[in-house]
Symmetry: C2
Subunit: 351 residues, 2 copies
C-alpha cells in the first residue's frame, strides 16, 4: 500500500475551518482507494507571528521539503500587514519549492448558478495557468525621499526567459489534454518591456505546438471577454499578477470563491507541491462554522491527483458534485444554513 507523507498548514481564519474538512475527505478517500496518508500539522500562521515574531521557523522550508505534498489553509489576519504574513509564508514557499505553476481550474458546479445571464455549465469551464515564481510579485524596489513631497516608490517586475518559457510550455502541454486552445494575457501596449518579451516567448512556444490553437489578448479585453464570452476561453496563460486577477474573476463567474481550488505545482517533482483554496482567510467569518469547505476539498482532490491517485481525485470531485446537486446540505453562501463540518461530512459520506 502506497503511503504518502503530507504536511498540513491550516493557517489563519477560515483556513483552519476548511482544512479540517478537506483532511476528513482525503482520509476517507485513502481508506476507500487503498493508499495511506500520514499527516504532520504545522501551526504556521499570523497567530504564530504574534507569538514568536515570524510566520514560520527559519528552517521552515527544510522541514517541509521531505513531504509528498502540502495542504495549505489560508494566511492573513487583521493587524498583521499582508506583506508580512504572505511574504513570510505563502510566497517564499511557492518560490523555494519552485512551484512555478499556479493551476486554477474553474467550472460551474451542480446546484450553483452563475452571475452571468443565460450561461450553461459547459460554457463556464476554464483553467487559468498562472505564473507563480516571478513577474510582478518581486521584492525588488523601494522608497526614495521618504516623507518628503518628492517621495516616490519603485516596484520592479522581473521576467526571465526560463520562467516565461516554462509556464507557457506547461499551458500548451495542458492544452493537448483538453481543448487544444490557449489564450495568453498580455498588455504589451502599456507595459512595453515585460509584455513584448512575454509575447515573443509565447510566439516561440506556440510554434512548437502547431496542433494547439493559440491567441493573445490584452488583459483588459480578456477580462471583458471572460464575462461577455467565457465559452470562447479554455486555457488562459498569464503572468503572476494577471493570473491572480483573472482567476478571481473566473471563480466569480462560476459559483464564487467558495468553490475555486488552486495548486502551486512543481512539475519536476523535485520539491513538494502545495494546494490551497483561491479564497483568503476571511477573518470576519472565521471559527463560526459557516465557511464553505468545497474549494479546499477540491484543492485536496488536486493534491491526490498530483500524487498519481487519479481515481481518488475523480471520486472526490464526483462526491462534491453529488452533494451540491442534491442540495440538501448547503452552507450560507450557497443559500443554506448548514455548517462547514456538515458539508465536509456529507462529501466524505458521499464518497
Amino acid at each position: 500500500m502506497t503511503a504518502y507523507r503530507l504536511a498540513s498548514i491550516p493557517g489563519d481564519g477560515i483556513g483552519v475551518d476548511v482544512t479540517v474538512e478537506a483532511r476528513k475527505v482525503l482520509d476517507r478517500s485513502a481508506e476507500l482507494f487503498g493508499f495511506s496518508l500520514e499527516w504532520t500539522e504545522f501551526d504556521w500562521s499570523c497567530e504564530r507571528y504574534a507569538r514568536l515574531g515570524s510566520m514560520m521557523p527559519d528552517d521552515g522550508v527544510a522541514q517541509l521539503s521531505a513531504f509528498d505534498g502540502i495542504l495549505l489553509g489560508a494566511v492573513g489576519f487583521p493587524g498583521v500587514p499582508d506583506h508580512v504574513s504572505l511574504w513570510g509564508l505563502l510566497i517564499p514557499l511557492r518560490r523555494a519549492f519552485q512551484q512555478y505553476v499556479n493551476l486554477r481550474p474553474v467550472r460551474l458546479l451542480p446546484g450553483t448558478t452563475s452571475v452571468l445571464a443565460g450561461r450553461k455549465a459547459e460554457e463556464l469551464e476554464l483553467v487559468i495557468v498562472r505564473e507563480n515564481s516571478e513577474g510582478e510579485y518581486s521584492a525588488i524596489g523601494g522608497r526614495h525621499n521618504a516623507g518628503r513631497p518628492d517621495e516616490f516608490v519603485l516596484q520592479e517586475s522581473v521576467f526571465t526567459r526560463v520562467g516565461v518559457t516554462r509556464i507557457i510550455r506547461y499551458a500548451f502541454e495542458l492544452a493537448r489534454t483538453r481543448s487544444s486552445r490557449v489564450c495568453s494575457a498580455t498588455k504589451s501596449n502599456g507595459l512595453i518591456h515585460s509584455m513584448p518579451f512575454w509575447d515573443e516567448i509565447f510566439a516561440e512556444v506556440a510554434a512548437e505546438f502547431p496542433d494547439v490553437h493559440s491567441e493573445q489578448m490584452h488583459v483588459d479585453a480578456l477580462a471583458a471577454r471572460m464575462v461577455q464570452a467565457p465559452d470562447r476561453l479554455d486555457i488562459v496563460v498569464a503572468s503572476n499578477l494577471f493570473g491572480d486577477i483573472l482567476s478571481d474573476l473566473a471563480a466569480a463567474i462560476t459559483g464564487g470563491l467558495g468553490m475555486a481550488p488552486s495548486g502551486n505545482i512543481n512539475p519536476s517533482g523535485e520539491f513538494p507541491s502545495m494546494f490551497e483554496a483561491v479564497h483568503g482567510s476571511a477573518p470576519d467569518i472565521a471559527g463560526q462554522g459557516i465557511a464553505n469547505p468545497v474549494a479546499q476539498i477540491l484543492a485536496a482532490a488536486m493534491l491526490v491527483e498530483h500524487l498519481g491517485e487519479t481515481v481518488a481525485a475523480q471520486a472526490i470531485r464526483a462526491a462534491v458534485d453529488r452533494v451540491l446537486d442534491e442540495g440538501r446540505v448547503r452552507t450560507p453562501d450557497l443559500g443554506g444554513t448548514d455548517t462547514t463540518e456538515r458539508l465536509g461530512t456529507a462529501v466524505a459520506e458521499a464518497l
Copy 2:
C-alpha cells in the same frame, strides 16, 4: 457667443468611423445651445507612421497645446506594434498635458442588457477614476543578456507621492458630488513596495474627507465584486494598470465597449484635456460602417461638459438614451443592422 477651438485626431480603424459621428453630434449641440466650435483635424495615426516614420510630428504636443479640447478616435493597426503606436501618440499626450485623471463612467444604457443576471440599471452605475500619468506604465526598464538562456527583462513601476495623492484626492472630491463612497484598488499583499505606499496615501487622503465612506480591496477581489455585487461599488480609484483592467470590466457588464466613454483630464485646465472611447481601433471591422458610435458620442459629451457646457452635455446624453430606448436604430453589436452613420444622425436629430 463662446467659441471653442477643438482638435480632432480620428486616428486609425473605427476611430475614424466613430469620430465623424461624434463631431456631427457636437456641431448640432453647438447650434442648439449657443456656442461655436472651430475644428482642426490632425491625421496622426499608424497610417502616418507607415508614411513618415512617426505617429505625430516632433512638435505635435506644441501644436495641440493651444486647443480647448481634443477628441481622439483610436490608434493601432496590424503591423505597427502597439508599443510604437501608443507610446508615439496616446501615452505621450496623456503625460505632456498632465492629464493625470482618466475618468471612466459607466452605466447601463436604455435598450441594452447586462451580461449579469438580474441586475437593474441603477445597480450598474459606477465611475472608474484611473491614474493616467505614471504607475505601471513606465518606459523605464529593459532587457539583460538578450538572446541568451539567462535573458531577463525588468519593468519598473513608478509611483510618486504627488501622483498618487492627486488622483486619490480627485476621487474623493468626485465622491462628494455623487454617492460619497470611494473604493481603492490595492494589491499590497503581492506588490509590496508600490501598493503599501498607495494604501498609505489613500488613508491620509481619506482622513481629509471624513464625510466620504472609504474602503480598499485587493484588485483580484475587486474584479470579483464587480461581477458579483456591482451595486456595492460607486467610485473606484485605481492605478494606471488596475484602472485599465477594471474599466474594461465595468464596460463589459454595462452594455459593452461600444458604449463606454473616457476622459483624459487635466484638472487644472493648464493644458487641454482629451476625450476618447474606451474601445480600440478594431481594424477588423474598420471602414465597414458597422462600428457603434455611442462611446465616442458620450466621450464628446464629456468634452463639452469639461468646457462648461453642462446643458449641452446633458442633452447629448439624453438624446443617446432616447435613441437607444426607442431601439429603432441599432448597429450590429446592439442586434440591429444600421450603420454607424445612421446611428450618429439619429442622435443628432434627437437632440
